[in-house]
């Protein structure tokens, strides 16, 4: 909306722009990076959506920071909770940064104008959330700073407002599809990105010194998900296709309280305010599984318990296939003032009034713990230690790893702010001394071939049919519980779907707002990433955090206390994934905390 056309030149129908820093994605991480980058370097933010449509806006419950505004708290406790919550696969140096910088991150947002809920003294109010505890697990602590149950919405709006204040250059509805890599002294470095302009079908090359990926997650590999339709893992997929590694892809979080059958998120903040999970007989079943913190156990544990209750016949409803979130004792005032949005979601989409009735819920695919490996400076890694100069990633698309094998609620809104800011600052420092690398002769050729290939493919397969099959199979076989058998089966399905994808046909052959073509390209990324998720999951023969193997129910620190690193090594279309994916390991950084059994 503010792109300056005078900036660009057109050569052979392709638009060329030059910016010091290009940020791909305009959600929380991207715009937080832009707020640092904009004043220090010539910056562009490119998004396939309008910025305020980004899925940060759907986050509800809060953002963790040990402000100690309402009770005693410390960043060290927060670090411990994050490490334990991630089932010890968290890099502890990164978790310490996350917890320490959380305090400034919240203050930054308040200073930028975010309307947090307030305590009677006028300070930022805080609420309880799953896995956040006082003094290393003794009791739940009030650590989540919040704005009703639209904290993500307020963060997204506040960051966008501040981008407007700073005059950040946005390229809205531009779909980035490639990173241009140039070789410098034998080392591959990014020289820019190529984007497809949705409104015109034109191609744009953004020549740049530094690139920050902030493209979010890929929950649409699953059918039941809290994720937006647009969360198709494009950024993670671009990095993968460039043969850069992806870390810990087997770890996906299933949020316990999705509206049954729909997957729409009901915040954990509801349980933070006192809501209770019950099975068909009304039993508060979490008391059996996590006697100390009960319904406020971390998400992986609660999700497993819910699925178990249903599997063992204690589910509610005509098909006994969900449990209840009971908010009825909270009273209308708490629901209307602190949880108004989820109250409305239940009313609108299920016709259930949480004030008087329990709400049917089941786990919903929510968050990718894995993604593009980075160090604590948000620099992208090409192996376990080597940085790709000028390439950064932050937010859900990245894996620092602050979340290990299971993210705590409220740590993602924190992650995007802490590491988005770091990415922006570090990119500014980098471009001061960096040069624009020469572009290849026709930098847009790869994207042009991809788009025209899809547009003109004379195939007969429908995108929606393939996508539905993928999503349903992933829900059945790679969700909360997994086995060798289920993962083998879904692997075969994905291979078959990838073959059929070669035979797709789109009906819309036009250039303007061709969302048929867009969905086809998105499906390509989903298939690639689903394959990596499942391939990594098969290889981890243990249960840890969000990765629960029915056939290997225990955590195995001896063999698996390490991150998975997946590399694309061969022809991605070869039928056996093992022919084109190589898996390796990366050590976990441990500083203060030795792994212990995870009890709550």
């Amino acid at each position: 909306m503010t792109q300056d056309p005078s900036d660009s030149t057109i050569i052979d129908g392709v638009h060329y722009h030059q910016f010091d820093i290009v940020i791909v994605g305009a959600g929380g991480a991207g715009m937080r990076a832009a707020i640092e980058a904009g004043p220090g370097a010539k910056t562009a933010v490119i998004s396939k959506l309008y910025p305020t449509r980004s899925h940060t806006g759907a986050a509800q419950g809060g953002m963790a920071a040990a402000l100690a505004n309402v009770e005693e708290d410390s960043w060290e406790w927060h670090t411990f909770d994050t490490v334990k919550g991630g089932d010890y696969l968290v890099d502890q140096d990164a978790a310490e940064i996350l917890a320490k910088e959380a305090i400034d991150a919240v203050i930054d947002l308040e200073n930028m104008g975010l309307p947090f809920n307030r305590t009677p003294e006028g300070k930022i109010d805080q609420r309880r959330f799953g896995g956040h505890t006082r003094d290393h697990g003794k009791a739940p602590v009030r650590r989540a700073c919040y704005a009703a149950d639209r904290t993500g919405h307020m963060i997204l709006q506040t960051l966008f407002q501040n981008c407007v204040r700073l005059g950040i250059n946005f390229f809205n509805e531009f779909y980035v599809l490639d990173v241009i890599m140039s070789e410098v002294d034998g080392v591959e470095q990014p020289a820019g990105v190529v984007a497809y302009e949705l409104s015109t079908g034109d191609l744009h090359v953004f020549h740049s010194k530094a690139i920050i990926f902030a493209t979010g997650g890929f929950g649409k590999i699953f059918k039941t998900t809290s994720n937006a339709h647009t969360l198709t893992g494009d950024g993670v997929g671009i990095i993968w296709r460039k043969k850069l590694p992806l870390e810990d892809m087997e770890f996906f979080q299933f949020h316990p309280t999705g509206l049954a059958g729909l997957g729409i998120l009901l915040t954990e903040g509801a349980r933070g305010e006192g809501a209770i999970l019950r099975n068909a007989s009304g039993e508060r079943f979490m008391e059996r599984y996590a006697p100390t913190i009960k319904d406020l156990a971390p998400r992986d544990i609660v999700a497993r318990c819910m699925v178990k209750e249903v599997a063992e016949g204690r589910g509610a409803g005509p098909n006994k296939d969900y449990v209840y979130l009971d908010c009825t004792h909270l009273g209308a005032e708490v629901l209307e003032t602190k949880l108004p949005d989820i109250t409305e979601f239940a009313r609108t989409y299920l016709g259930v009034d949480p004030v008087t009735e329990p709400v049917p819920v089941m786990p919903t695919a929510h968050y990718a713990m894995g993604g593009i490996p980075t160090n604590v400076n948000a620099e992208v890694l090409r192996d376990n230690t080597t940085v790709v100069p000028g390439l950064y990633a932050a937010g859900e698309c990245a894996c620092v790893s602050v979340h290990g094998s299971n993210r705590l609620g409220t740590n993602s809104l924190l992650d995007i702010n802490v590491f988005g800011k770091r990415a922006g600052n570090n990119a500014v420092a980098y471009v001061q001394n960096a040069k624009f690398l020469p572009l290849p002769e026709d930098p847009a050729v790869f994207v042009r071939d991809m788009i025209e290939g899809v547009r003109n493919n004379p195939g007969t397969e429908r995108i929606s049919v393939l996508r539905k099959e993928l999503q349903e199979e992933m829900d059945t076989k790679a969700q909360v519980f997994r086995t060798d058998e289920s993962l083998d089966s879904v692997t075969k399905t994905i291979t078959h779907l990838r073959d059929r994808y070669m035979n797709i046909g789109v009906q819309d052959k036009g250039r303007r707002y061709n969302t048929d073509l867009l969905e086809a390209i998105e499906l390509g990324f989903l298939l690639d990433l689903a394959e990596v998720v499942v391939f990594s999951a098969r290889n981890r023969k243990e249960s840890r955090g969000g990765h629960m193997r029915d056939d290997y129910p225990d955590r195995d620190d001896e063999n698996y206390m390490k991150h998975t690193m997946a590399y694309l090594t061969g022809d991605p279309h070869s039928s056996d994934a093992a022919d084109h994916i190589r898996l390796d390991w990366k050590p976990v950084v441990m500083t203060r905390y030795q792994p212990m059994e995870r009890k709550y």
């Binding site: 909306m1 449509r53 809920n117 307030r118 307020m154 407007v164 016709g351 429908r462 707002y513």
Partner: protein, 253 residues
């Protein structure tokens, strides 16, 4: 309490029986058409499905070229504001069961913004109006380094309603003044000005009030309440505009 959940309502039986619904969609592809045209589609729906589900069914099963924006699909991203049976709504928040399906359902793009294709309009003019009201906190003094500002619960509540805005444009594009005069700021921009004018931490109310005192500002509002009816977030838009008018007459918030 512990047994209260046993008798909880099962999803209504109607939800299990699909039926045919006719949608009549105003289609326009500038690459092929001179004029927009209305096209009928029959789709099999459940009563708990949303209009967005119906549009997806058309796109995914009948005509892949049907174009519309959508993202979160539960009313928080603001992508899919459109005119459904003549009223501005979000397609993802409009359930089939809440419409009269004995008649066809008419779906078209929101009005007053340039039509790009099918249900997609150019949103840039809308966001330009938003930008013009200086929609960001302009504090009187810098906060102490590393410290939050203090704000009372009552002061925070004063502007709560207008913080809910998702910039979907349902209000602005339902406004008859905006239809006839595209220069008018429109309700959404005024709502976002209100959000800061009444924030106790902000000190630039005067600047924003001056902007809205312009001939294309709040005085164009004729209080038809279309905007309030259209808002999918339940914001009392007309009241917010009235509060800005009163602040202008007082000369302060």
């Amino acid at each position: 309490m512990s047994t209260a959940t046993i008798d909880a309502p099962a999803p209504v039986d109607d939800a299990l029986k699909p039926f045919i619904v006719t949608l009549i969609v105003r289609r326009f592809n500038p690459e092929l058409d001179d004029e927009p045209k209305w096209v009928d589609y029959d789709v099999e729906m459940f009563s708990t499905d949303r209009i967005l589900d119906a549009l997806h069914k058309i796109k995914w099963e009948q005509d892949g070229s049907l174009s519309f924006r959508r993202s979160c699909a539960h009313g928080i991203c603001g992508s899919d504001a459109m005119r459904i049976n003549g009223r501005n709504r979000l397609a993802c928040k409009t359930l089939i069961k809440d419409l009269d399906i004995t008649k066809p359902i008419y779906v078209e793009a929101i009005k007053g913004l340039p039509l790009e294709k099918d249900l997609i309009v150019d949103m840039d003019p809308f966001f330009e109006s938003f930008r013009e009201v200086q929609p960001f906190l302009i504090p009187s003094k810098k906060a102490e380094p590393g410290k939050e500002r203090i704000q009372s619960v009552a002061d925070r509540a004063r502007f709560d309603d207008t913080t809910k805005c998702i910039l979907c444009a349902a209000c602005t594009s339902s406004c008859p003044i905006f239809w006839t005069d595209g220069q008018y700021f429109g309700p959404a921009a005024i709502v976002n000005a209100h959000r800061f004018i009444f924030d106790s931490r902000d000190d630039a109310a005067k600047v924003r009030l001056d902007i809205l005192n312009d001939q294309e500002g709040v005085w164009r509002c004729r209080t038809t309440f279309n905007c309030t009816d259209a808002c999918p977030r339940g914001i009392q838009v007309t009241q917010a505009i009235a509060e800005v008018k009163q602040a202008l007459m007082r000369g302060k918030p």
